[in-house]
Subunit: 217 residues, 2 copies
Amino acid sequence: MTPIITAFEHSPDRGKGLARDMRVRWALEEVGQPYDVRLLSFQAMKEPDHLARNPFGQIPTYEEGELVLFESGAIVFHLAERHAGLLPRPAHARARAIAWLFAALNTVEPPIMELSLARILERDAPWYEQRLPVVVARVQKRLDELCASLGDADWLDGAFSVADLMMVSVLLRLKPSGMLESYPSLAAYVARGEARPAYQRAFAAQWAVFQAGANAG
Amino acid sequence: MTPIITAFEHSPDRGKGLARDMRVRWALEEVGQPYDVRLLSFQAMKEPDHLARNPFGQIPTYEEGELVLFESGAIVFHLAERHAGLLPRPAHARARAIAWLFAALNTVEPPIMELSLARILERDAPWYEQRLPVVVARVQKRLDELCASLGDADWLDGAFSVADLMMVSVLLRLKPSGMLESYPSLAAYVARGEARPAYQRAFAAQWAVFQAGANAG
Protein backbone atom coordinates (compact mmCIF):
# COMPACT_ATOMS: atom_id res chain seq x y z
CA MET A 1 0.00 0.00 0.00
CA THR A 2 1.11 3.56 -0.66
CA PRO A 3 2.21 5.40 2.47
CA ILE A 4 0.79 8.85 3.20
CA ILE A 5 2.84 11.70 4.62
CA THR A 6 1.63 15.08 5.87
CA ALA A 7 3.06 18.44 4.82
CA PHE A 8 2.19 22.15 5.04
CA GLU A 9 -0.59 23.24 2.72
CA HIS A 10 1.05 26.67 2.68
CA SER A 11 4.83 26.34 2.93
CA PRO A 12 6.06 28.92 5.47
CA ASP A 13 9.32 29.21 3.51
CA ARG A 14 7.56 29.77 0.17
CA GLY A 15 8.82 26.60 -1.47
CA LYS A 16 12.45 26.74 -0.31
CA GLY A 17 12.14 23.15 0.88
CA LEU A 18 13.31 23.82 4.44
CA ALA A 19 10.38 22.18 6.26
CA ARG A 20 10.79 18.74 7.76
CA ASP A 21 8.60 16.97 5.20
CA MET A 22 11.53 17.39 2.76
CA ARG A 23 13.64 14.89 4.73
CA VAL A 24 10.95 12.28 4.46
CA ARG A 25 10.24 13.03 0.79
CA TRP A 26 13.98 12.77 0.09
CA ALA A 27 14.28 9.41 1.90
CA LEU A 28 11.22 8.08 0.07
CA GLU A 29 12.79 9.11 -3.25
CA GLU A 30 16.17 7.59 -2.33
CA VAL A 31 14.58 4.20 -1.69
CA GLY A 32 12.15 4.47 -4.62
CA GLN A 33 8.98 4.29 -2.53
CA PRO A 34 5.97 6.11 -4.06
CA TYR A 35 3.89 8.10 -1.58
CA ASP A 36 0.82 10.25 -1.21
CA VAL A 37 0.72 13.60 0.59
CA ARG A 38 -2.02 14.97 2.83
CA LEU A 39 -1.67 18.75 2.95
CA LEU A 40 -2.63 20.47 6.20
CA SER A 41 -3.51 24.04 7.06
CA PHE A 42 -2.00 25.49 10.25
CA GLN A 43 -5.47 25.17 11.78
CA ALA A 44 -5.81 21.49 10.84
CA MET A 45 -2.42 20.73 12.46
CA LYS A 46 -3.90 21.64 15.86
CA GLU A 47 -7.08 19.58 15.48
CA PRO A 48 -7.75 16.16 17.02
CA ASP A 49 -7.35 14.26 13.71
CA HIS A 50 -3.78 15.42 13.37
CA LEU A 51 -2.93 15.38 17.09
CA ALA A 52 -3.78 11.67 16.96
CA ARG A 53 -1.00 11.33 14.39
CA ASN A 54 1.43 13.65 16.16
CA PRO A 55 0.76 14.79 19.75
CA PHE A 56 2.94 17.86 19.14
CA GLY A 57 0.86 19.03 16.16
CA GLN A 58 3.77 19.10 13.72
CA ILE A 59 4.42 17.82 10.23
CA PRO A 60 5.55 15.42 8.84
CA THR A 61 3.75 12.26 9.87
CA TYR A 62 3.76 8.91 8.10
CA GLU A 63 0.89 6.47 7.70
CA GLU A 64 1.31 2.98 6.31
CA GLY A 65 -1.84 1.00 6.90
CA GLU A 66 -2.34 0.86 10.66
CA LEU A 67 1.12 2.18 11.45
CA VAL A 68 1.21 5.89 12.23
CA LEU A 69 4.56 7.54 12.91
CA PHE A 70 5.73 11.05 13.72
CA GLU A 71 9.19 12.71 14.00
CA SER A 72 11.18 13.09 10.81
CA GLY A 73 14.11 11.18 12.36
CA ALA A 74 11.94 8.18 13.20
CA ILE A 75 10.24 8.15 9.80
CA VAL A 76 13.50 8.37 7.89
CA PHE A 77 14.97 5.63 10.09
CA HIS A 78 11.88 3.45 9.54
CA LEU A 79 12.35 3.76 5.78
CA ALA A 80 16.10 3.12 6.07
CA GLU A 81 15.49 -0.07 8.03
CA ARG A 82 12.97 -1.44 5.53
CA HIS A 83 14.65 -0.55 2.24
CA ALA A 84 18.20 -0.95 0.96
CA GLY A 85 20.39 2.07 0.33
CA LEU A 86 20.20 4.32 3.37
CA LEU A 87 21.97 2.28 6.05
CA PRO A 88 25.22 0.33 5.69
CA ARG A 89 24.82 -3.42 6.25
CA PRO A 90 27.88 -4.10 8.49
CA ALA A 91 26.77 -3.77 12.12
CA HIS A 92 29.42 -1.25 13.22
CA ALA A 93 28.97 1.01 10.19
CA ARG A 94 25.20 0.83 10.67
CA ALA A 95 25.50 1.85 14.35
CA ARG A 96 27.79 4.75 13.42
CA ALA A 97 25.36 5.99 10.75
CA ILE A 98 22.62 5.97 13.39
CA ALA A 99 24.91 7.94 15.74
CA TRP A 100 25.30 10.63 13.05
CA LEU A 101 21.53 10.63 12.49
CA PHE A 102 21.02 11.45 16.17
CA ALA A 103 23.89 13.96 16.09
CA ALA A 104 22.22 15.83 13.22
CA LEU A 105 18.97 16.05 15.17
CA ASN A 106 20.10 16.47 18.78
CA THR A 107 23.48 18.25 18.52
CA VAL A 108 23.56 20.19 15.23
CA GLU A 109 19.91 21.08 14.64
CA PRO A 110 19.05 22.65 18.04
CA PRO A 111 21.35 25.70 17.71
CA ILE A 112 20.38 26.06 14.03
CA MET A 113 16.70 25.91 14.99
CA GLU A 114 17.35 28.43 17.76
CA LEU A 115 18.91 30.77 15.20
CA SER A 116 15.86 30.37 12.92
CA LEU A 117 13.49 31.01 15.82
CA ALA A 118 15.45 34.12 16.82
CA ARG A 119 15.45 35.43 13.24
CA ILE A 120 11.74 34.79 12.79
CA LEU A 121 10.09 35.20 16.19
CA GLU A 122 12.45 37.55 18.05
CA ARG A 123 13.42 39.91 15.24
CA ASP A 124 11.40 42.76 16.77
CA ALA A 125 12.36 41.97 20.35
CA PRO A 126 14.46 44.65 22.07
CA TRP A 127 17.26 42.12 22.69
CA TYR A 128 17.48 40.81 19.13
CA GLU A 129 20.57 42.64 17.87
CA GLN A 130 22.49 42.20 21.10
CA ARG A 131 21.73 38.51 21.53
CA LEU A 132 22.14 37.38 17.91
CA PRO A 133 25.94 36.97 18.13
CA VAL A 134 25.49 34.58 21.09
CA VAL A 135 23.23 32.35 19.00
CA VAL A 136 25.45 32.61 15.94
CA ALA A 137 28.47 31.58 18.03
CA ARG A 138 26.67 28.42 19.17
CA VAL A 139 25.99 27.47 15.56
CA GLN A 140 29.59 28.28 14.53
CA LYS A 141 30.95 25.97 17.23
CA ARG A 142 29.00 23.04 15.78
CA LEU A 143 29.95 23.95 12.21
CA ASP A 144 33.65 24.16 13.15
CA GLU A 145 33.47 20.71 14.75
CA LEU A 146 31.52 19.22 11.86
CA CYS A 147 33.93 20.73 9.36
CA ALA A 148 36.92 19.19 11.19
CA SER A 149 35.23 15.81 11.28
CA LEU A 150 34.20 15.81 7.62
CA GLY A 151 37.67 16.84 6.43
CA ASP A 152 37.84 16.36 2.67
CA ALA A 153 35.55 13.33 2.61
CA ASP A 154 32.44 13.35 0.45
CA TRP A 155 30.16 11.99 3.19
CA LEU A 156 30.30 11.68 6.98
CA ASP A 157 31.30 8.01 7.26
CA GLY A 158 31.91 6.13 4.01
CA ALA A 159 29.08 5.95 1.49
CA PHE A 160 26.04 8.26 1.49
CA SER A 161 23.59 7.19 4.19
CA VAL A 162 20.71 8.36 6.35
CA ALA A 163 23.37 10.24 8.33
CA ASP A 164 24.12 12.51 5.37
CA LEU A 165 20.49 12.81 4.34
CA MET A 166 19.68 14.22 7.78
CA MET A 167 22.82 16.31 8.26
CA VAL A 168 22.43 17.97 4.85
CA SER A 169 18.74 18.60 5.60
CA VAL A 170 19.65 20.23 8.91
CA LEU A 171 22.43 22.37 7.37
CA LEU A 172 20.08 23.54 4.62
CA ARG A 173 18.11 25.39 7.30
CA LEU A 174 21.12 27.75 7.54
CA LYS A 175 20.63 28.94 3.97
CA PRO A 176 18.60 32.04 4.86
CA SER A 177 21.35 33.11 7.30
CA GLY A 178 24.17 32.93 4.75
CA MET A 179 26.37 31.27 7.40
CA LEU A 180 27.30 28.29 5.24
CA GLU A 181 29.22 30.58 2.91
CA SER A 182 31.99 30.81 5.51
CA TYR A 183 32.40 27.03 5.44
CA PRO A 184 33.28 26.05 1.84
CA SER A 185 33.67 22.35 2.63
CA LEU A 186 30.28 22.21 4.34
CA ALA A 187 28.69 24.22 1.54
CA ALA A 188 30.13 21.70 -0.95
CA TYR A 189 28.83 18.83 1.22
CA VAL A 190 25.33 20.33 1.18
CA ALA A 191 25.59 20.91 -2.58
CA ARG A 192 26.50 17.21 -3.07
CA GLY A 193 23.33 16.30 -1.20
CA GLU A 194 21.20 18.71 -3.21
CA ALA A 195 22.65 17.36 -6.45
CA ARG A 196 21.34 13.85 -5.83
CA PRO A 197 18.49 12.97 -8.20
CA ALA A 198 16.35 11.82 -5.26
CA TYR A 199 16.77 15.20 -3.56
CA GLN A 200 15.88 16.96 -6.81
CA ARG A 201 12.68 14.95 -7.21
CA ALA A 202 11.70 15.60 -3.58
CA PHE A 203 12.39 19.31 -3.96
CA ALA A 204 10.32 19.50 -7.15
CA ALA A 205 7.40 17.78 -5.41
CA GLN A 206 7.28 20.27 -2.52
CA TRP A 207 7.82 23.16 -4.96
CA ALA A 208 4.79 22.01 -6.94
CA VAL A 209 2.70 22.22 -3.74
CA PHE A 210 3.87 25.79 -3.15
CA GLN A 211 3.20 26.79 -6.77
CA ALA A 212 -0.29 25.28 -6.72
CA GLY A 213 -1.07 27.20 -3.50
CA ALA A 214 0.31 30.44 -4.97
CA ASN A 215 -1.75 30.04 -8.15
CA ALA A 216 -4.89 29.23 -6.17
CA GLY A 217 -4.35 32.19 -3.82
CA MET B 1 33.83 -7.63 26.77
CA THR B 2 32.82 -4.83 29.12
CA PRO B 3 31.79 -1.65 27.31
CA ILE B 4 33.31 1.66 28.39
CA ILE B 5 31.35 4.91 28.60
CA THR B 6 32.66 8.41 29.20
CA ALA B 7 31.30 10.84 31.79
CA PHE B 8 32.28 14.14 33.43
CA GLU B 9 35.09 13.86 35.97
CA HIS B 10 33.53 16.86 37.72
CA SER B 11 29.76 16.80 37.38
CA PRO B 12 28.59 20.34 36.46
CA ASP B 13 25.33 19.68 38.33
CA ARG B 14 27.10 18.46 41.47
CA GLY B 15 25.75 14.94 41.33
CA LYS B 16 22.13 15.73 40.44
CA GLY B 17 22.36 13.21 37.62
CA LEU B 18 21.22 15.59 34.88
CA ALA B 19 24.11 15.01 32.46
CA ARG B 20 23.62 12.77 29.45
CA ASP B 21 25.73 9.90 30.77
CA MET B 22 22.80 9.14 33.12
CA ARG B 23 20.63 8.01 30.19
CA VAL B 24 23.26 5.54 29.09
CA ARG B 25 23.96 4.34 32.64
CA TRP B 26 20.21 3.86 33.14
CA ALA B 27 19.85 1.87 29.91
CA LEU B 28 22.85 -0.29 30.81
CA GLU B 29 21.28 -1.00 34.21
CA GLU B 30 17.86 -1.77 32.68
CA VAL B 31 19.37 -4.43 30.43
CA GLY B 32 21.80 -5.73 33.08
CA GLN B 33 24.97 -4.93 31.14
CA PRO B 34 28.00 -4.19 33.36
CA TYR B 35 30.16 -1.29 32.18
CA ASP B 36 33.28 0.69 32.92
CA VAL B 37 33.50 4.47 33.02
CA ARG B 38 36.28 6.70 31.74
CA LEU B 39 36.04 10.05 33.52
CA LEU B 40 37.06 13.12 31.55
CA SER B 41 38.06 16.63 32.58
CA PHE B 42 36.60 19.51 30.55
CA GLN B 43 40.08 19.89 29.05
CA ALA B 44 40.29 16.22 28.03
CA MET B 45 36.91 16.46 26.27
CA LYS B 46 38.43 18.91 23.77
CA GLU B 47 41.56 16.86 23.05
CA PRO B 48 42.14 14.64 19.99
CA ASP B 49 41.67 11.37 21.91
CA HIS B 50 38.12 12.28 22.82
CA LEU B 51 37.30 14.13 19.58
CA ALA B 52 38.06 10.84 17.84
CA ARG B 53 35.24 9.33 19.92
CA ASN B 54 32.88 12.30 19.55
CA PRO B 55 33.60 15.04 16.99
CA PHE B 56 31.52 17.47 19.08
CA GLY B 57 33.60 16.93 22.23
CA GLN B 58 30.70 15.86 24.40
CA ILE B 59 29.97 13.02 26.80
CA PRO B 60 28.77 10.29 26.83
CA THR B 61 30.50 8.03 24.35
CA TYR B 62 30.40 4.23 24.20
CA GLU B 63 33.19 1.83 23.31
CA GLU B 64 32.65 -1.86 22.78
CA GLY B 65 35.77 -3.39 21.27
CA GLU B 66 36.29 -1.64 17.93
CA LEU B 67 32.87 0.00 17.92
CA VAL B 68 32.88 3.60 19.10
CA LEU B 69 29.57 5.46 19.36
CA PHE B 70 28.52 8.93 20.41
CA GLU B 71 25.10 10.62 21.01
CA SER B 72 23.09 9.41 24.00
CA GLY B 73 20.13 8.61 21.71
CA ALA B 74 22.22 6.36 19.49
CA ILE B 75 23.90 4.60 22.41
CA VAL B 76 20.63 3.93 24.19
CA PHE B 77 19.09 2.68 20.93
CA HIS B 78 22.12 0.43 20.30
CA LEU B 79 21.63 -1.15 23.73
CA ALA B 80 17.87 -1.46 23.20
CA GLU B 81 18.42 -3.28 19.89
CA ARG B 82 20.88 -5.77 21.36
CA HIS B 83 19.19 -6.60 24.66
CA ALA B 84 15.64 -7.48 25.60
CA GLY B 85 13.51 -5.12 27.66
CA LEU B 86 13.79 -1.65 26.16
CA LEU B 87 11.99 -2.05 22.82
CA PRO B 88 8.69 -3.84 22.17
CA ARG B 89 9.01 -6.80 19.81
CA PRO B 90 5.93 -6.20 17.55
CA ALA B 91 7.07 -4.12 14.57
CA HIS B 92 4.49 -1.32 14.90
CA ALA B 93 4.99 -0.90 18.65
CA ARG B 94 8.76 -0.90 18.12
CA ALA B 95 8.51 1.81 15.44
CA ARG B 96 6.28 3.92 17.71
CA ALA B 97 8.73 3.61 20.61
CA ILE B 98 11.49 4.83 18.29
CA ALA B 99 9.27 7.77 17.26
CA TRP B 100 8.94 8.76 20.93
CA LEU B 101 12.70 8.38 21.39
CA PHE B 102 13.26 10.90 18.60
CA ALA B 103 10.46 13.13 19.95
CA ALA B 104 12.14 13.27 23.35
CA LEU B 105 15.42 14.35 21.74
CA ASN B 106 14.33 16.53 18.83
CA THR B 107 11.00 18.05 19.97
CA VAL B 108 10.95 18.09 23.78
CA GLU B 109 14.62 18.47 24.72
CA PRO B 110 15.54 21.50 22.54
CA PRO B 111 13.32 24.03 24.36
CA ILE B 112 14.28 22.49 27.73
CA MET B 113 17.95 22.75 26.81
CA GLU B 114 17.39 26.33 25.65
CA LEU B 115 15.88 27.12 29.06
CA SER B 116 18.89 25.56 30.81
CA LEU B 117 21.30 27.50 28.59
CA ALA B 118 19.43 30.73 29.28
CA ARG B 119 19.44 30.09 33.05
CA ILE B 120 23.14 29.21 33.09
CA LEU B 121 24.80 31.22 30.31
CA GLU B 122 22.53 34.24 29.90
CA ARG B 123 21.60 34.93 33.52
CA ASP B 124 23.71 38.09 33.58
CA ALA B 125 22.76 39.22 30.10
CA PRO B 126 20.74 42.47 29.95
CA TRP B 127 17.89 40.67 28.18
CA TYR B 128 17.61 37.74 30.63
CA GLU B 129 14.53 38.78 32.65
CA GLN B 130 12.63 40.06 29.65
CA ARG B 131 13.31 37.05 27.43
CA LEU B 132 12.83 34.29 30.01
CA PRO B 133 9.01 34.15 29.64
CA VAL B 134 9.44 33.54 25.89
CA VAL B 135 11.63 30.50 26.56
CA VAL B 136 9.39 29.26 29.37
CA ALA B 137 6.35 29.49 27.07
CA ARG B 138 8.09 27.28 24.49
CA VAL B 139 8.71 24.64 27.16
CA GLN B 140 5.13 24.92 28.46
CA LYS B 141 3.73 24.30 24.98
CA ARG B 142 5.59 20.99 24.77
CA LEU B 143 4.62 20.02 28.32
CA ASP B 144 0.95 20.78 27.63
CA GLU B 145 1.04 18.58 24.53
CA LEU B 146 2.94 15.80 26.28
CA CYS B 147 0.54 15.93 29.21
CA ALA B 148 -2.47 15.59 26.87
CA SER B 149 -0.88 12.65 25.10
CA LEU B 150 0.13 10.79 28.27
CA GLY B 151 -3.31 11.20 29.84
CA ASP B 152 -3.52 8.92 32.85
CA ALA B 153 -1.31 6.19 31.39
CA ASP B 154 1.78 5.03 33.24
CA TRP B 155 4.04 5.16 30.19
CA LEU B 156 3.92 6.79 26.74
CA ASP B 157 2.83 3.78 24.69
CA GLY B 158 2.15 0.54 26.55
CA ALA B 159 4.94 -0.93 28.64
CA PHE B 160 8.04 0.99 29.76
CA SER B 161 10.49 1.33 26.87
CA VAL B 162 13.42 3.34 25.58
CA ALA B 163 10.80 6.03 24.81
CA ASP B 164 10.10 6.54 28.51
CA LEU B 165 13.73 6.20 29.54
CA MET B 166 14.61 9.09 27.25
CA MET B 167 11.52 11.24 27.89
CA VAL B 168 11.93 10.97 31.67
CA SER B 169 15.64 11.79 31.31
CA VAL B 170 14.80 14.88 29.27
CA LEU B 171 12.07 16.03 31.68
CA LEU B 172 14.43 15.61 34.64
CA ARG B 173 16.47 18.49 33.21
CA LEU B 174 13.54 20.74 34.19
CA LYS B 175 14.03 19.99 37.89
CA PRO B 176 16.15 23.07 38.64
CA SER B 177 13.45 25.29 37.07
CA GLY B 178 10.60 23.94 39.20
CA MET B 179 8.38 23.88 36.11
CA LEU B 180 7.36 20.24 36.50
CA GLU B 181 5.47 21.12 39.69
CA SER B 182 2.72 22.69 37.57
CA TYR B 183 2.23 19.39 35.74
CA PRO B 184 1.29 16.77 38.37
CA SER B 185 0.81 13.96 35.85
CA LEU B 186 4.20 14.60 34.28
CA ALA B 187 5.83 14.91 37.70
CA ALA B 188 4.30 11.53 38.61
CA TYR B 189 5.54 10.08 35.29
CA VAL B 190 9.07 11.28 36.04
CA ALA B 191 8.80 9.89 39.59
CA ARG B 192 7.79 6.48 38.19
CA GLY B 193 10.95 6.53 36.09
CA GLU B 194 13.13 7.57 39.02
CA ALA B 195 11.62 4.80 41.16
CA ARG B 196 12.85 2.05 38.87
CA PRO B 197 15.65 0.03 40.47
CA ALA B 198 17.79 0.44 37.33
CA TYR B 199 17.46 4.23 37.55
CA GLN B 200 18.39 4.11 41.24
CA ARG B 201 21.52 2.08 40.54
CA ALA B 202 22.54 4.44 37.72
CA PHE B 203 21.94 7.47 39.91
CA ALA B 204 24.00 6.00 42.75
CA ALA B 205 26.88 5.29 40.36
CA GLN B 206 27.08 8.89 39.09
CA TRP B 207 26.60 10.19 42.66
CA ALA B 208 29.59 8.14 43.77
CA VAL B 209 31.70 9.86 41.09
CA PHE B 210 30.63 13.28 42.35
CA GLN B 211 31.30 12.32 45.98
CA ALA B 212 34.76 10.95 45.16
CA GLY B 213 35.61 14.18 43.33
CA ALA B 214 34.28 16.31 46.19
CA ASN B 215 36.32 14.34 48.74
CA ALA B 216 39.46 14.55 46.59
CA GLY B 217 39.01 18.30 46.05
